[in-house]
Subunit: 317 residues, 2 copies
């Protein structure tokens, strides 16, 4: 067992999975509800800015007997005066535009003009849409797609393509990334989204995309200065021919590198990998038998940490 | 989306994952500690039989102020007079042998003369060993191995081997099972264990076993009349040649069947599949791209349910 590698991976995954709902509530985060369904968590620092919008948000307190005075659960509720998907989306959007003009909330400086769908479970009918850069303010579950692009030599040896992020990217500039990845914009199919990213970020042809294979989801719950990030990533493997070289088309990637799995292992713990992309690559190493529980007994714990049951947590279990 | 299939899978996974620690404690289950580390849960019905063994187990209560009178956490503790792995193993074993002679506890009738290692995290040094048939009494995490044996035709179509359990098996007689599977006996390596099962249950040669690939772990927490079962399975894929036919060598399998993934889908929800083995096959269907989130939006929820973070739960997070 490579103890140094193992300890660094545990550190990476603990950081990626630092938030638990229990801890968050204990330090003053507020559950966020739409239609009395918990769909997020709001940090105290953001709540200070949001609490004045009493026409949009309603705060339900616990009384002396430990209950609320209505059927509403304790926490922040989107006002029940907004009844439809469209009304709710417009209400939150208006509040965010107002806050953005005041220029007091950091994450809103990264405004994307792109909406994410919000629901408690992925399969539920979306309750509303929220601007992507604001989702961390509300701690809603964000979905995305990631692609492990790899090449298999005739003797079975696997090499994997990594992107190095452009140094002008808003987040994690110059760090290692997967071949392509992106957030799931509202109303976009998952396969549609992943194919779009493959074309934009790596110029992969329709023909090569036929081999794109969904292999699972990874989920984790991290936090940074931009807010709370419960994230679920739809992961795809794409075996590429040896003579293919990805070409970035949207300026988001500085360069692509093809590395052996041994080199990947070193890069994962080298401190220059976007943490959630490192997690995606770690799971690739496990799933392809390169890391196994006999050589590294922490593998079963890594896998737990890569599958935080976010939808179950928000469902109150 | 196949709504009937999807609903039946949700039902299967909800049953397989019915236990949460929160619910268990609320209905009177007691946390079980060794060295003040939570490693299990004891149901009230079993506690009635165990509580008289005050030389082995110590019950720590919460006082009026909500705390315990010692540094020990509230719940059942293995007496601190047993300080080593061996002393603890012997102490529990003696108590269980005594209970077994009284013939009052159902699961002990399935005594296996086989020990499981017990720790909070898989990677921790084991604290003790407990007879396999008694692990459900203490709700300790049980580990096992499962093999998806499959055949790939030249056009890429996958068929999977299933076992049908012998009608004389103690548990789940005559139900569909994976190609081979087994519990992880104390002090056995995982690969060693899975190879042993492959030989005993399906007569797979050493040569074919070279292709055995670890692909991940699945974990879930179920309950039945035999007790509480937080289980973590080490899953292996094994691609087999088209001309290979498994032959059972230990009498545990009545017959083997090679089925298409479409047939597998029907069998999974047909009510005659050992539930945890159905979960293993479900994950195989997902990981090989046969079930995907565009065709079945519940896939991301299935994956959550297949990865209950048991070690994290017992760690108190």
């Amino acid at each position: 067992m490579d103890q140094i590698f193992s300890n660094k991976i545990l550190h990476l995954l603990n950081n990626l999975n630092k938030v638990t709902i229990k801890d968050a509530l204990q330090r003053g985060c507020k559950s966020f509800y739409v239609e009395n369904k918990m769909i997020g968590l709001i940090r105290p620092d953001f709540w200070e800015h949001l609490k004045n919008y009493t026409d949009v948000l309603e705060f339900v307190e616990v009384n002396a007997s430990g209950h609320t005075s209505t059927l509403l659960k304790p926490g922040v509720h989107l006002s029940s005066s907004f009844k439809t998907h469209q009304e709710r989306t417009i209400a939150i959007h208006g509040m965010l535009e107002n806050l953005r003009q005041k220029n007091i909330i950091l994450p809103l400086r990264g405004w994307r003009n792109e909406n994410y769908s919000v629901s408690q479970k992925f399969t539920d009918e979306p309750l509303l849409e929220i601007e992507r850069s604001a989702c961390g303010l509300f701690g809603t579950i964000q979905y995305g797609v990631h692609v492990n692009g790899f090449v298999k030599s005739p003797n079975g040896e696997i090499k994997i393509w990594l992107g190095k992020r452009s140094k002008t990217k808003q987040t994690f500039p110059s760090m290692y990334d997967n071949l392509c990845a992106g957030g799931l914009t509202a109303r976009l199919g998952i396969l549609e989204c992943v194919k779009k990213e493959c074309k934009e970020e790596a110029s992969i042809s329709d023909e090569l995309l036929e081999d794109l294979t969904f292999v699972g989801t990874l989920s984790y719950f991290y936090e940074d200065e931009r807010g709370l990030f419960p994230e679920c990533q739809f992961v795809y493997d794409l075996e590429l021919p040896g003579d293919f070289t990805p070409v970035n088309a949207d300026g988001e990637v500085a360069e692509f590198l093809l590395v052996s799995l041994e080199e990947l292992k070193d890069l994962l713990v080298g401190g220059n990998f976007k943490p959630n992309c490192a997690a995606i690559c770690l799971e690739f190493l496990i799933r392809h038998g390169y890391l196994n529980p006999d050589s590294d007994p922490n593998v079963s714990y890594y896998i737990e940490q890569l599958h935080s049951p976010l939808q179950t947590y928000y469902d109150g279990r």
